[in-house]
Protein backbone atom coordinates (compact mmCIF):
# COMPACT_ATOMS: atom_id res chain seq x y z
CA UNK A 1 0.00 0.00 0.00
CA UNK A 2 2.78 2.41 0.94
CA UNK A 3 4.32 1.83 -2.42
CA UNK A 4 1.25 3.23 -4.11
CA UNK A 5 1.17 6.29 -1.89
CA UNK A 6 4.42 7.34 -3.49
CA UNK A 7 2.75 7.32 -6.86
CA UNK A 8 0.47 10.12 -5.70
CA UNK A 9 3.38 12.50 -5.23
CA UNK A 10 3.74 13.78 -8.78
CA UNK A 11 0.04 14.51 -8.78
CA UNK A 12 0.35 16.34 -5.48
CA UNK A 13 3.18 18.50 -6.79
CA UNK A 14 1.23 19.13 -9.96
CA UNK A 15 -1.89 20.25 -8.11
CA UNK A 16 0.11 22.44 -5.76
CA UNK A 17 1.79 24.25 -8.64
CA UNK A 18 -1.22 24.45 -10.95
CA UNK A 19 -4.12 24.77 -8.51
CA UNK A 20 -3.14 25.71 -4.99
CA UNK A 21 -0.49 28.38 -5.59
CA UNK A 22 -2.61 30.31 -8.12
CA UNK A 23 -5.58 30.14 -5.76
CA UNK A 24 -3.51 31.49 -2.90
CA UNK A 25 -2.19 34.22 -5.19
CA UNK A 26 -5.73 35.26 -6.05
CA UNK A 27 -6.60 35.42 -2.36
CA UNK A 28 -3.40 37.41 -1.70
CA UNK A 29 -4.20 39.86 -4.50
CA UNK A 30 -7.73 40.27 -3.25
CA UNK A 31 -6.70 41.47 0.21
CA UNK A 32 -3.90 43.80 -0.86
CA UNK A 33 -3.27 46.96 -2.83
CA UNK A 34 -0.09 48.21 -4.44
CA UNK A 35 -0.21 47.09 -8.03
CA UNK A 36 0.30 43.85 -9.87
CA UNK A 37 3.98 43.36 -9.09
CA UNK A 38 3.43 42.31 -5.47
CA UNK A 39 6.57 44.28 -4.54
CA UNK A 40 5.20 46.86 -2.16
CA UNK A 41 1.88 45.50 -1.03
CA UNK A 42 -0.37 46.68 1.75
CA UNK A 43 -3.16 44.68 3.27
CA UNK A 44 -6.64 46.10 2.93
CA UNK A 45 -10.26 45.09 2.62
CA UNK A 46 -11.11 47.98 0.30
CA UNK A 47 -11.39 45.66 -2.68
CA UNK A 48 -14.24 43.82 -1.01
CA UNK A 49 -15.87 47.03 0.19
CA UNK A 50 -15.92 48.29 -3.39
CA UNK A 51 -18.08 45.33 -4.32
CA UNK A 52 -20.90 46.77 -2.23
CA UNK A 53 -21.34 49.66 -4.66
CA UNK A 54 -24.76 49.43 -6.33
CA UNK A 55 -23.28 49.19 -9.83
CA UNK A 56 -21.31 46.05 -9.00
CA UNK A 57 -24.13 44.50 -6.98
CA UNK A 58 -26.32 44.99 -10.04
CA UNK A 59 -23.75 43.16 -12.18
CA UNK A 60 -23.84 40.22 -9.74
CA UNK A 61 -27.62 40.10 -9.69
CA UNK A 62 -27.82 40.27 -13.48
CA UNK A 63 -25.33 37.42 -13.81
CA UNK A 64 -27.30 35.26 -11.41
CA UNK A 65 -30.60 36.05 -13.08
CA UNK A 66 -29.18 35.15 -16.48
CA UNK A 67 -27.40 32.08 -15.14
CA UNK A 68 -30.56 30.78 -13.48
CA UNK A 69 -32.72 31.44 -16.54
CA UNK A 70 -30.32 29.59 -18.85
CA UNK A 71 -29.92 26.71 -16.40
CA UNK A 72 -33.71 26.47 -16.05
CA UNK A 73 -34.31 26.36 -19.79
CA UNK A 74 -31.40 23.97 -20.26
CA UNK A 75 -32.90 21.68 -17.62
CA UNK A 76 -36.29 21.51 -19.31
CA UNK A 77 -34.94 21.02 -22.84
CA UNK A 78 -32.05 18.82 -21.68
CA UNK A 79 -34.24 16.53 -19.57
CA UNK A 80 -36.79 15.99 -22.33
CA UNK A 81 -34.02 15.30 -24.82
CA UNK A 82 -32.19 12.89 -22.51
CA UNK A 83 -35.47 11.14 -21.64
CA UNK A 84 -36.46 10.70 -25.28
CA UNK A 85 -33.02 9.36 -26.14
CA UNK A 86 -33.40 6.52 -23.61
CA UNK A 87 -36.30 5.07 -25.62
CA UNK A 88 -34.00 4.03 -28.46
CA UNK A 89 -31.83 0.94 -28.69
CA UNK A 90 -28.40 1.19 -27.15
CA UNK A 91 -26.63 1.59 -30.49
CA UNK A 92 -28.90 4.42 -31.56
CA UNK A 93 -28.57 6.01 -28.13
CA UNK A 94 -24.80 6.19 -28.50
CA UNK A 95 -25.22 7.79 -31.88
CA UNK A 96 -27.73 10.34 -30.56
CA UNK A 97 -25.47 11.28 -27.64
CA UNK A 98 -22.71 11.72 -30.18
CA UNK A 99 -24.95 14.15 -32.06
CA UNK A 100 -25.51 16.09 -28.85
CA UNK A 101 -21.77 16.46 -28.38
CA UNK A 102 -20.90 17.27 -31.99
CA UNK A 103 -21.34 21.04 -31.51
CA UNK A 104 -18.71 20.85 -28.78
CA UNK A 105 -16.13 19.81 -31.35
CA UNK A 106 -16.39 23.24 -32.85
CA UNK A 107 -14.77 26.17 -31.10
CA UNK A 108 -17.17 28.25 -28.98
CA UNK A 109 -15.97 31.40 -30.72
CA UNK A 110 -16.92 30.06 -34.12
CA UNK A 111 -20.31 28.89 -32.92
CA UNK A 112 -20.95 32.30 -31.40
CA UNK A 113 -20.00 33.99 -34.67
CA UNK A 114 -22.53 31.76 -36.37
CA UNK A 115 -25.18 33.07 -33.99
CA UNK A 116 -24.12 36.60 -34.85
CA UNK A 117 -24.69 36.09 -38.55
CA UNK A 118 -28.05 34.51 -37.77
CA UNK A 119 -29.29 37.11 -35.31
CA UNK A 120 -27.85 40.42 -36.49
CA UNK A 121 -30.14 43.17 -37.76
CA UNK A 122 -29.42 42.34 -41.39
CA UNK A 123 -28.66 38.71 -40.64
CA UNK A 124 -30.13 35.51 -41.99
CA UNK A 125 -33.23 35.36 -39.76
CA UNK A 126 -34.16 38.97 -40.43
CA UNK A 127 -33.58 38.54 -44.17
CA UNK A 128 -36.02 35.63 -44.15
CA UNK A 129 -38.55 37.66 -42.16
CA UNK A 130 -38.18 40.48 -44.64
CA UNK A 131 -38.76 38.13 -47.57
CA UNK A 132 -41.95 36.97 -45.90
CA UNK A 133 -43.01 40.59 -45.60
CA UNK A 134 -42.58 40.86 -41.85
CA UNK A 135 -40.94 43.56 -39.78
CA UNK A 136 -37.32 42.82 -38.81
CA UNK A 137 -36.67 42.13 -35.11
CA UNK A 138 -33.67 43.49 -33.21
CA UNK A 139 -32.20 40.41 -31.54
CA UNK A 140 -28.49 41.14 -31.20
CA UNK A 141 -27.25 42.77 -28.01
CA UNK A 142 -30.29 41.68 -25.99
CA UNK A 143 -30.82 39.26 -23.09
CA UNK A 144 -32.48 36.97 -25.62
CA UNK A 145 -29.34 36.67 -27.75
CA UNK A 146 -27.10 36.04 -24.74
CA UNK A 147 -29.43 33.41 -23.23
CA UNK A 148 -29.79 31.69 -26.60
CA UNK A 149 -26.01 31.59 -27.00
CA UNK A 150 -25.57 30.27 -23.46
CA UNK A 151 -28.19 27.54 -23.86
CA UNK A 152 -26.79 26.26 -27.12
CA UNK A 153 -23.36 26.19 -25.52
CA UNK A 154 -24.41 24.52 -22.26
CA UNK A 155 -27.02 22.01 -23.37
CA UNK A 156 -24.60 19.05 -23.77
CA UNK A 157 -23.44 19.53 -20.19
CA UNK A 158 -27.04 19.05 -19.06
CA UNK A 159 -28.03 16.22 -21.39
CA UNK A 160 -25.08 13.92 -20.77
CA UNK A 161 -25.24 13.54 -16.95
CA UNK A 162 -29.04 13.22 -17.04
CA UNK A 163 -28.85 10.60 -19.76
CA UNK A 164 -26.24 8.68 -17.82
CA UNK A 165 -28.38 8.46 -14.70
CA UNK A 166 -31.54 7.68 -16.69
CA UNK A 167 -29.73 4.78 -18.35
CA UNK A 168 -28.85 3.28 -15.00
CA UNK A 169 -32.49 2.97 -13.94
CA UNK A 170 -33.61 -0.63 -13.97
CA UNK A 171 -36.61 -0.96 -16.25
CA UNK A 172 -38.27 -3.47 -13.94
CA UNK A 173 -38.80 -0.63 -11.46
CA UNK A 174 -41.19 0.96 -13.95
CA UNK A 175 -43.04 -2.28 -14.32
CA UNK A 176 -43.21 -2.64 -10.56
CA UNK A 177 -44.62 0.87 -10.19
CA UNK A 178 -47.23 0.18 -12.87
CA UNK A 179 -48.14 -3.12 -11.23
CA UNK A 180 -48.65 -1.35 -7.94
CA UNK A 181 -51.16 0.93 -9.60
CA UNK A 182 -49.17 4.07 -10.43
CA UNK A 183 -50.33 5.95 -13.50
CA UNK A 184 -47.71 6.93 -16.14
CA UNK A 185 -47.26 10.37 -14.63
CA UNK A 186 -46.76 9.00 -11.14
CA UNK A 187 -44.34 6.43 -12.49
CA UNK A 188 -42.34 9.12 -14.14
CA UNK A 189 -42.38 11.54 -11.27
CA UNK A 190 -41.90 9.17 -8.35
CA UNK A 191 -39.61 6.65 -9.98
CA UNK A 192 -37.85 7.92 -13.07
CA UNK A 193 -37.34 11.54 -12.09
CA UNK A 194 -36.50 10.69 -8.53
CA UNK A 195 -33.83 8.22 -9.56
CA UNK A 196 -32.36 10.64 -12.06
CA UNK A 197 -31.84 13.44 -9.52
CA UNK A 198 -28.07 12.84 -9.21
CA UNK A 199 -27.74 13.45 -12.95
CA UNK A 200 -30.04 16.45 -12.80
CA UNK A 201 -28.08 17.99 -9.94
CA UNK A 202 -24.76 17.35 -11.69
CA UNK A 203 -26.14 18.94 -14.84
CA UNK A 204 -27.39 21.94 -12.91
CA UNK A 205 -24.07 22.41 -11.14
CA UNK A 206 -22.05 22.17 -14.35
CA UNK A 207 -24.22 24.47 -16.43
CA UNK A 208 -24.54 26.95 -13.59
CA UNK A 209 -20.76 27.08 -13.06
CA UNK A 210 -20.16 27.63 -16.75
CA UNK A 211 -22.92 30.18 -17.24
CA UNK A 212 -22.00 32.30 -14.25
CA UNK A 213 -18.35 32.67 -15.23
CA UNK A 214 -18.76 32.98 -19.00
CA UNK A 215 -17.51 36.08 -20.74
CA UNK A 216 -17.06 35.38 -24.45
CA UNK A 217 -20.72 34.81 -25.25
CA UNK A 218 -22.09 37.90 -23.47
CA UNK A 219 -19.30 39.99 -24.97
CA UNK A 220 -20.01 38.94 -28.55
CA UNK A 221 -23.79 38.55 -28.42
CA UNK A 222 -24.45 41.23 -25.82
CA UNK A 223 -21.91 43.84 -26.91
CA UNK A 224 -19.06 45.38 -24.92
CA UNK A 225 -21.49 47.15 -22.59
CA UNK A 226 -23.14 43.88 -21.55
CA UNK A 227 -21.52 43.31 -18.20
CA UNK A 228 -21.69 40.00 -16.37
CA UNK A 229 -19.33 38.92 -13.58
CA UNK A 230 -17.07 37.16 -16.08
CA UNK A 231 -16.84 40.28 -18.22
CA UNK A 232 -16.17 42.43 -15.18
CA UNK A 233 -13.29 40.17 -14.11
CA UNK A 234 -11.91 39.97 -17.65
CA UNK A 235 -12.12 43.74 -17.99
CA UNK A 236 -10.34 44.33 -14.68
CA UNK A 237 -7.54 41.88 -15.47
CA UNK A 238 -6.96 42.51 -19.16
CA UNK A 239 -7.75 46.11 -19.96
CA UNK A 240 -7.89 47.99 -16.65
CA UNK A 241 -5.01 46.07 -15.05
CA UNK A 242 -6.53 46.24 -11.56
CA UNK A 243 -5.73 42.69 -10.50
CA UNK A 244 -6.52 43.40 -6.85
CA UNK A 245 -10.14 44.27 -7.40
CA UNK A 246 -10.45 41.58 -10.07
CA UNK A 247 -9.17 38.97 -7.61
CA UNK A 248 -11.58 40.16 -4.93
CA UNK A 249 -14.50 39.60 -7.30
CA UNK A 250 -13.13 36.18 -8.26
CA UNK A 251 -12.88 35.22 -4.59
CA UNK A 252 -16.46 36.29 -3.92
CA UNK A 253 -17.63 34.42 -7.01
CA UNK A 254 -15.74 31.30 -5.97
CA UNK A 255 -17.27 31.55 -2.51
CA UNK A 256 -20.81 31.84 -3.87
CA UNK A 257 -20.24 28.89 -6.19
CA UNK A 258 -18.90 26.85 -3.28
CA UNK A 259 -22.04 27.56 -1.27
CA UNK A 260 -24.23 26.67 -4.24
CA UNK A 261 -22.44 23.36 -4.76
CA UNK A 262 -22.66 22.50 -1.05
CA UNK A 263 -26.41 23.12 -1.12
CA UNK A 264 -26.77 20.95 -4.21
CA UNK A 265 -24.74 18.16 -2.66
CA UNK A 266 -26.90 18.30 0.43
CA UNK A 267 -30.08 17.97 -1.61
CA UNK A 268 -28.47 15.07 -3.43
CA UNK A 269 -27.62 13.37 -0.18
CA UNK A 270 -31.05 13.92 1.34
CA UNK A 271 -32.88 12.50 -1.66
CA UNK A 272 -30.48 9.58 -1.57
CA UNK A 273 -31.18 8.84 2.08
CA UNK A 274 -34.93 8.84 1.64
CA UNK A 275 -34.81 5.75 -0.48
Amino acid sequence: MKYFVKLVRPYLIWSIVIVIIPLLLIVLYSVTTGGNDLINIQFTLDNFKKMAEPIYVAVFLKSFRLGLISVGICLVIGYILAYLITFFSEKVQNLLILFVTIPMWINTLLRTYAWISLLSDNGIINSVLEMLGMEPVAMMYTDFAVILGLISDLLPFMVIPIHTSLCKIDHSLHEAAMDLGANPFQTFWRVTFKLSTPGVLNGIIMTFLLSISTFVIPKLLGGGQYMLIGNLIENLFISVGDWNFGSAISVILAFIILIAITCMKRIDKETGEEE
Partner: protein, 356 residues
Protein backbone atom coordinates in the same frame (compact mmCIF):
# COMPACT_ATOMS: atom_id res chain seq x y z
CA UNK B 1 -19.74 40.06 -46.37
CA UNK B 2 -19.66 38.63 -42.91
CA UNK B 3 -18.37 35.47 -44.40
CA UNK B 4 -15.54 37.25 -46.08
CA UNK B 5 -14.46 38.71 -42.75
CA UNK B 6 -14.83 35.40 -41.02
CA UNK B 7 -12.89 33.62 -43.70
CA UNK B 8 -10.18 36.19 -43.37
CA UNK B 9 -10.03 35.55 -39.64
CA UNK B 10 -9.94 31.81 -40.04
CA UNK B 11 -7.23 32.04 -42.65
CA UNK B 12 -5.38 34.48 -40.43
CA UNK B 13 -5.48 32.01 -37.56
CA UNK B 14 -4.56 29.19 -39.90
CA UNK B 15 -1.53 30.92 -41.30
CA UNK B 16 -0.44 31.90 -37.81
CA UNK B 17 -0.67 28.23 -36.86
CA UNK B 18 1.34 27.32 -39.93
CA UNK B 19 4.02 29.78 -38.94
CA UNK B 20 4.11 28.22 -35.53
CA UNK B 21 4.39 24.68 -36.89
CA UNK B 22 7.07 25.91 -39.20
CA UNK B 23 8.90 27.10 -36.17
CA UNK B 24 8.43 23.92 -34.15
CA UNK B 25 9.56 21.63 -36.92
CA UNK B 26 12.33 23.91 -38.05
CA UNK B 27 13.71 24.25 -34.57
CA UNK B 28 15.59 20.99 -34.28
CA UNK B 29 17.23 20.97 -37.69
CA UNK B 30 18.60 24.47 -37.98
CA UNK B 31 19.22 27.24 -35.52
CA UNK B 32 17.42 29.89 -37.54
CA UNK B 33 17.06 33.17 -35.72
CA UNK B 34 13.54 33.89 -34.47
CA UNK B 35 11.72 37.18 -34.34
CA UNK B 36 8.67 37.59 -32.12
CA UNK B 37 6.31 40.33 -33.25
CA UNK B 38 3.31 41.50 -31.22
CA UNK B 39 0.89 43.70 -33.10
CA UNK B 40 -2.77 44.65 -33.52
CA UNK B 41 -5.16 42.07 -34.97
CA UNK B 42 -5.78 42.38 -38.73
CA UNK B 43 -2.99 44.86 -39.13
CA UNK B 44 -0.79 43.27 -41.75
CA UNK B 45 -0.77 41.43 -45.05
CA UNK B 46 0.31 38.08 -43.56
CA UNK B 47 1.91 36.87 -46.81
CA UNK B 48 4.64 39.45 -46.13
CA UNK B 49 5.69 37.47 -43.08
CA UNK B 50 6.43 34.38 -45.16
CA UNK B 51 8.26 36.55 -47.67
CA UNK B 52 10.37 38.04 -44.90
CA UNK B 53 11.15 34.60 -43.48
CA UNK B 54 12.42 33.42 -46.86
CA UNK B 55 14.42 36.52 -47.58
CA UNK B 56 16.19 36.60 -44.22
CA UNK B 57 16.18 32.85 -43.50
CA UNK B 58 14.53 33.26 -40.15
CA UNK B 59 11.32 32.45 -38.29
CA UNK B 60 8.72 35.03 -37.44
CA UNK B 61 6.23 34.44 -34.65
CA UNK B 62 3.42 36.90 -35.15
CA UNK B 63 0.93 37.39 -32.31
CA UNK B 64 -1.88 39.90 -32.04
CA UNK B 65 -3.61 41.95 -29.34
CA UNK B 66 -6.83 43.93 -29.33
CA UNK B 67 -5.94 46.82 -27.08
CA UNK B 68 -2.84 48.64 -25.87
CA UNK B 69 -3.80 47.75 -22.33
CA UNK B 70 -4.02 44.02 -22.98
CA UNK B 71 -0.67 44.21 -24.78
CA UNK B 72 0.83 45.90 -21.73
CA UNK B 73 -0.70 43.37 -19.33
CA UNK B 74 0.82 40.56 -21.35
CA UNK B 75 4.36 41.92 -21.48
CA UNK B 76 4.11 42.91 -17.85
CA UNK B 77 3.27 39.35 -16.90
CA UNK B 78 6.63 38.23 -18.26
CA UNK B 79 6.02 37.41 -21.92
CA UNK B 80 8.84 38.68 -24.14
CA UNK B 81 8.74 39.99 -27.71
CA UNK B 82 11.24 41.56 -30.05
CA UNK B 83 9.01 44.00 -31.85
CA UNK B 84 5.81 45.66 -30.62
CA UNK B 85 3.42 47.87 -32.55
CA UNK B 86 1.58 49.86 -29.86
CA UNK B 87 0.04 53.33 -30.01
CA UNK B 88 1.41 56.72 -29.07
CA UNK B 89 0.58 56.97 -25.34
CA UNK B 90 1.55 53.36 -24.74
CA UNK B 91 4.90 53.94 -26.46
CA UNK B 92 5.43 56.94 -24.18
CA UNK B 93 4.75 54.71 -21.20
CA UNK B 94 7.13 52.01 -22.45
CA UNK B 95 9.84 54.64 -22.99
CA UNK B 96 9.32 56.02 -19.48
CA UNK B 97 9.60 52.52 -18.04
CA UNK B 98 12.82 51.78 -19.97
CA UNK B 99 11.36 48.85 -21.84
CA UNK B 100 12.57 49.89 -25.32
CA UNK B 101 15.84 50.05 -27.27
CA UNK B 102 16.77 53.05 -29.38
CA UNK B 103 16.31 52.64 -33.14
CA UNK B 104 19.44 52.71 -35.29
CA UNK B 105 18.11 54.79 -38.18
CA UNK B 106 21.20 54.05 -40.30
CA UNK B 107 19.88 50.49 -40.64
CA UNK B 108 16.61 51.75 -42.09
CA UNK B 109 17.33 53.04 -45.61
CA UNK B 110 13.63 52.82 -46.49
CA UNK B 111 12.82 55.36 -43.78
CA UNK B 112 13.44 58.11 -46.32
CA UNK B 113 10.01 57.38 -47.73
CA UNK B 114 8.19 58.30 -44.50
CA UNK B 115 6.09 61.46 -44.48
CA UNK B 116 7.95 63.97 -42.20
CA UNK B 117 4.52 65.18 -40.97
CA UNK B 118 3.99 61.86 -39.22
CA UNK B 119 7.37 61.97 -37.47
CA UNK B 120 8.38 63.74 -34.26
CA UNK B 121 5.08 63.57 -32.38
CA UNK B 122 5.07 64.54 -28.69
CA UNK B 123 5.22 61.00 -27.35
CA UNK B 124 8.67 60.47 -28.92
CA UNK B 125 9.83 63.88 -30.20
CA UNK B 126 12.99 62.72 -32.00
CA UNK B 127 11.72 59.27 -32.97
CA UNK B 128 14.48 57.80 -30.86
CA UNK B 129 12.45 54.67 -30.17
CA UNK B 130 9.61 54.43 -32.66
CA UNK B 131 9.08 54.00 -36.40
CA UNK B 132 5.58 54.93 -37.67
CA UNK B 133 3.52 52.03 -39.00
CA UNK B 134 0.01 53.44 -39.45
CA UNK B 135 -1.66 56.68 -38.39
CA UNK B 136 -5.06 58.29 -38.51
CA UNK B 137 -7.89 59.83 -36.51
CA UNK B 138 -11.01 58.71 -34.69
CA UNK B 139 -14.33 59.84 -36.06
CA UNK B 140 -17.96 59.04 -36.64
CA UNK B 141 -18.97 56.75 -39.45
CA UNK B 142 -22.52 57.59 -40.49
CA UNK B 143 -25.09 56.16 -42.86
CA UNK B 144 -26.06 58.87 -45.34
CA UNK B 145 -29.42 57.21 -45.99
CA UNK B 146 -30.46 57.61 -42.35
CA UNK B 147 -28.50 60.47 -40.81
CA UNK B 148 -29.68 64.01 -41.59
CA UNK B 149 -26.89 66.14 -43.10
CA UNK B 150 -27.84 69.07 -40.83
CA UNK B 151 -27.25 67.02 -37.68
CA UNK B 152 -23.58 66.64 -38.54
CA UNK B 153 -23.06 70.18 -37.25
CA UNK B 154 -23.54 68.86 -33.72
CA UNK B 155 -20.12 67.20 -33.76
CA UNK B 156 -19.77 64.56 -31.06
CA UNK B 157 -23.18 65.53 -29.65
CA UNK B 158 -24.55 63.71 -32.69
CA UNK B 159 -24.01 60.63 -30.54
CA UNK B 160 -26.57 61.96 -28.07
CA UNK B 161 -29.16 63.00 -30.66
CA UNK B 162 -32.21 61.00 -29.58
CA UNK B 163 -33.35 60.71 -33.17
CA UNK B 164 -30.74 57.97 -33.45
CA UNK B 165 -31.37 56.26 -30.10
CA UNK B 166 -30.50 52.58 -30.26
CA UNK B 167 -28.75 53.15 -33.55
CA UNK B 168 -25.15 53.75 -32.43
CA UNK B 169 -21.96 51.88 -31.77
CA UNK B 170 -19.45 53.32 -29.36
CA UNK B 171 -15.88 52.04 -29.41
CA UNK B 172 -14.99 49.61 -26.65
CA UNK B 173 -11.90 51.41 -25.41
CA UNK B 174 -11.44 53.37 -22.24
CA UNK B 175 -9.40 56.24 -23.61
CA UNK B 176 -11.35 56.66 -26.83
CA UNK B 177 -14.72 56.70 -25.11
CA UNK B 178 -13.57 59.31 -22.62
CA UNK B 179 -12.01 61.20 -25.53
CA UNK B 180 -15.45 61.46 -27.14
CA UNK B 181 -17.05 62.76 -23.96
CA UNK B 182 -14.23 65.15 -23.06
CA UNK B 183 -14.08 66.61 -26.57
CA UNK B 184 -17.87 66.97 -26.68
CA UNK B 185 -17.64 68.98 -23.46
CA UNK B 186 -14.83 71.11 -24.89
CA UNK B 187 -12.05 69.76 -22.66
CA UNK B 188 -8.67 68.32 -23.51
CA UNK B 189 -8.65 64.54 -23.85
CA UNK B 190 -5.43 64.52 -21.81
CA UNK B 191 -6.99 66.31 -18.86
CA UNK B 192 -6.05 65.40 -15.30
CA UNK B 193 -8.73 67.60 -13.72
CA UNK B 194 -11.06 65.27 -11.80
CA UNK B 195 -14.02 67.65 -12.18
CA UNK B 196 -13.70 67.48 -15.96
CA UNK B 197 -13.30 63.71 -15.86
CA UNK B 198 -16.38 63.40 -13.64
CA UNK B 199 -18.33 65.51 -16.10
CA UNK B 200 -17.22 63.26 -18.95
CA UNK B 201 -18.30 60.24 -16.90
CA UNK B 202 -21.75 61.80 -16.46
CA UNK B 203 -21.85 62.45 -20.22
CA UNK B 204 -21.24 58.79 -20.96
CA UNK B 205 -23.71 57.57 -18.34
CA UNK B 206 -26.40 59.93 -19.64
CA UNK B 207 -25.66 58.78 -23.16
CA UNK B 208 -26.30 55.20 -22.14
CA UNK B 209 -29.69 56.22 -20.75
CA UNK B 210 -30.77 58.54 -23.56
CA UNK B 211 -29.56 56.44 -26.46
CA UNK B 212 -30.24 52.96 -25.07
CA UNK B 213 -29.16 50.48 -26.11
CA UNK B 214 -25.66 51.87 -26.61
CA UNK B 215 -23.43 49.09 -27.87
CA UNK B 216 -19.72 49.21 -27.05
CA UNK B 217 -18.29 47.27 -29.96
CA UNK B 218 -14.81 46.05 -30.73
CA UNK B 219 -13.75 44.70 -34.11
CA UNK B 220 -17.28 43.40 -34.68
CA UNK B 221 -18.20 46.95 -35.63
CA UNK B 222 -16.54 46.29 -39.01
CA UNK B 223 -18.92 43.48 -40.03
CA UNK B 224 -21.90 45.24 -38.54
CA UNK B 225 -21.35 48.54 -40.31
CA UNK B 226 -20.61 46.80 -43.61
CA UNK B 227 -24.01 45.13 -43.38
CA UNK B 228 -25.53 48.46 -42.36
CA UNK B 229 -26.84 47.36 -38.97
CA UNK B 230 -26.72 50.75 -37.31
CA UNK B 231 -26.60 54.38 -38.45
CA UNK B 232 -23.68 55.73 -36.41
CA UNK B 233 -20.41 54.29 -35.15
CA UNK B 234 -17.31 55.66 -33.48
CA UNK B 235 -14.45 54.15 -35.49
CA UNK B 236 -10.79 54.52 -36.32
CA UNK B 237 -10.18 56.14 -39.70
CA UNK B 238 -8.53 53.01 -41.11
CA UNK B 239 -11.44 50.79 -40.18
CA UNK B 240 -13.71 53.46 -41.65
CA UNK B 241 -11.85 53.31 -44.98
CA UNK B 242 -12.08 49.53 -45.00
CA UNK B 243 -15.81 49.59 -44.22
CA UNK B 244 -16.57 52.38 -46.72
CA UNK B 245 -14.87 50.42 -49.47
CA UNK B 246 -17.50 47.71 -48.87
CA UNK B 247 -20.58 49.86 -48.18
CA UNK B 248 -20.96 53.01 -50.25
CA UNK B 249 -23.75 54.54 -48.14
CA UNK B 250 -21.28 55.48 -45.44
CA UNK B 251 -19.29 58.66 -44.84
CA UNK B 252 -16.65 59.53 -42.26
CA UNK B 253 -16.91 62.62 -40.06
CA UNK B 254 -14.18 64.21 -37.97
CA UNK B 255 -16.26 66.15 -35.44
CA UNK B 256 -15.68 69.89 -35.18
CA UNK B 257 -14.67 69.80 -31.48
CA UNK B 258 -11.52 67.90 -32.42
CA UNK B 259 -10.53 64.30 -32.06
CA UNK B 260 -7.76 61.85 -31.28
CA UNK B 261 -4.94 61.88 -33.82
CA UNK B 262 -3.20 58.61 -33.20
CA UNK B 263 -0.16 56.85 -34.45
CA UNK B 264 0.87 53.22 -34.13
CA UNK B 265 4.58 52.64 -34.41
CA UNK B 266 7.06 49.79 -34.46
CA UNK B 267 9.35 49.65 -31.45
CA UNK B 268 12.11 47.26 -30.44
CA UNK B 269 11.92 45.95 -26.90
CA UNK B 270 14.66 45.80 -24.35
CA UNK B 271 14.44 42.00 -24.43
CA UNK B 272 15.28 41.80 -28.12
CA UNK B 273 18.57 40.03 -28.87
CA UNK B 274 18.23 39.85 -32.68
CA UNK B 275 18.55 43.60 -32.97
CA UNK B 276 19.82 43.57 -36.54
CA UNK B 277 17.06 41.26 -37.70
CA UNK B 278 14.51 43.45 -35.94
CA UNK B 279 15.77 46.45 -37.88
CA UNK B 280 15.62 44.41 -41.07
CA UNK B 281 11.98 43.64 -40.30
CA UNK B 282 11.14 47.28 -39.73
CA UNK B 283 12.96 48.29 -42.90
CA UNK B 284 11.13 45.53 -44.78
CA UNK B 285 7.77 46.93 -43.67
CA UNK B 286 8.77 50.43 -44.77
CA UNK B 287 9.51 49.22 -48.29
CA UNK B 288 7.14 50.95 -50.71
CA UNK B 289 5.65 47.71 -52.11
CA UNK B 290 5.26 46.09 -48.71
CA UNK B 291 3.76 49.20 -47.13
CA UNK B 292 1.34 49.34 -50.05
CA UNK B 293 0.35 45.68 -49.57
CA UNK B 294 -0.30 46.31 -45.88
CA UNK B 295 -2.32 49.46 -46.33
CA UNK B 296 -4.50 47.94 -49.07
CA UNK B 297 -5.08 44.83 -46.97
CA UNK B 298 -6.26 46.58 -43.81
CA UNK B 299 -7.39 50.07 -44.88
CA UNK B 300 -5.22 52.01 -42.46
CA UNK B 301 -3.25 55.02 -43.65
CA UNK B 302 0.42 54.34 -44.36
CA UNK B 303 3.08 56.88 -43.36
CA UNK B 304 5.08 55.85 -46.45
CA UNK B 305 4.23 58.61 -48.93
CA UNK B 306 4.44 56.57 -52.14
CA UNK B 307 2.35 53.70 -50.78
CA UNK B 308 -0.23 56.09 -49.38
CA UNK B 309 -0.57 58.05 -52.60
CA UNK B 310 -0.98 54.91 -54.66
CA UNK B 311 -3.62 53.50 -52.32
CA UNK B 312 -5.46 56.81 -52.12
CA UNK B 313 -5.58 57.14 -55.91
CA UNK B 314 -6.57 53.56 -56.67
CA UNK B 315 -7.94 51.34 -53.94
CA UNK B 316 -9.48 53.95 -51.68
CA UNK B 317 -10.25 56.66 -54.26
CA UNK B 318 -12.90 59.07 -53.01
CA UNK B 319 -12.98 57.73 -49.45
CA UNK B 320 -12.27 60.64 -47.11
CA UNK B 321 -11.43 58.31 -44.22
CA UNK B 322 -8.29 57.06 -45.95
CA UNK B 323 -6.68 60.50 -45.90
CA UNK B 324 -7.79 61.82 -42.52
CA UNK B 325 -7.14 65.45 -41.72
CA UNK B 326 -4.61 65.19 -38.90
CA UNK B 327 -3.59 68.83 -38.87
CA UNK B 328 -6.51 70.63 -37.18
CA UNK B 329 -5.63 72.73 -34.13
CA UNK B 330 -8.38 71.21 -31.98
CA UNK B 331 -7.06 67.67 -32.49
CA UNK B 332 -4.71 66.08 -29.97
CA UNK B 333 -2.44 63.10 -29.52
CA UNK B 334 -2.95 60.89 -26.46
CA UNK B 335 -0.34 61.38 -23.78
CA UNK B 336 0.92 59.11 -21.05
CA UNK B 337 -1.19 59.24 -17.89
CA UNK B 338 0.23 59.22 -14.38
CA UNK B 339 -0.81 56.20 -12.34
CA UNK B 340 -3.26 58.20 -10.25
CA UNK B 341 -5.10 59.62 -13.27
CA UNK B 342 -5.07 56.28 -14.98
CA UNK B 343 -6.69 54.57 -12.00
CA UNK B 344 -9.28 57.33 -11.75
CA UNK B 345 -10.26 56.84 -15.39
CA UNK B 346 -10.22 53.06 -15.10
CA UNK B 347 -12.62 52.94 -12.21
CA UNK B 348 -15.07 55.26 -13.94
CA UNK B 349 -14.75 53.28 -17.17
CA UNK B 350 -15.59 50.04 -15.37
CA UNK B 351 -18.67 51.78 -14.01
CA UNK B 352 -19.69 53.17 -17.41
CA UNK B 353 -19.61 49.69 -18.86
CA UNK B 354 -21.37 48.10 -15.90
CA UNK B 355 -24.11 50.75 -15.72
CA UNK B 356 -27.53 49.62 -16.74
Amino acid sequence: MIHKQLRKRIWGGFSAALLLTGLLTGCGASSKPTLKVYSWGEYIDTSLLTEFEHEYNCNVIYETFDSNESMYTKIQSGETYDILVPSDYMIERLIKEDRLQPIDWSLLPNADGIDPEVMGKEFDPDNTYSVPFFYGTVGILYDTTIVDEADLQDGWELLRNEKYAGDIYMYDSERDSFMVALKALGYSMNTTDTDEIDEAYEWLIEQREQMAPVVYAGDDVIDNMISGNKALAVVYSGDAAYIMAENEDLRYLEPKEGTNVWEDAMVITDDCTEVELAHAYINFMLDEEHAYANTVEVGYTSPVIEARTRAAENDFAGLNAYLPDATRAQDEVFRYQEQETKEYFSELWTKVKAAN
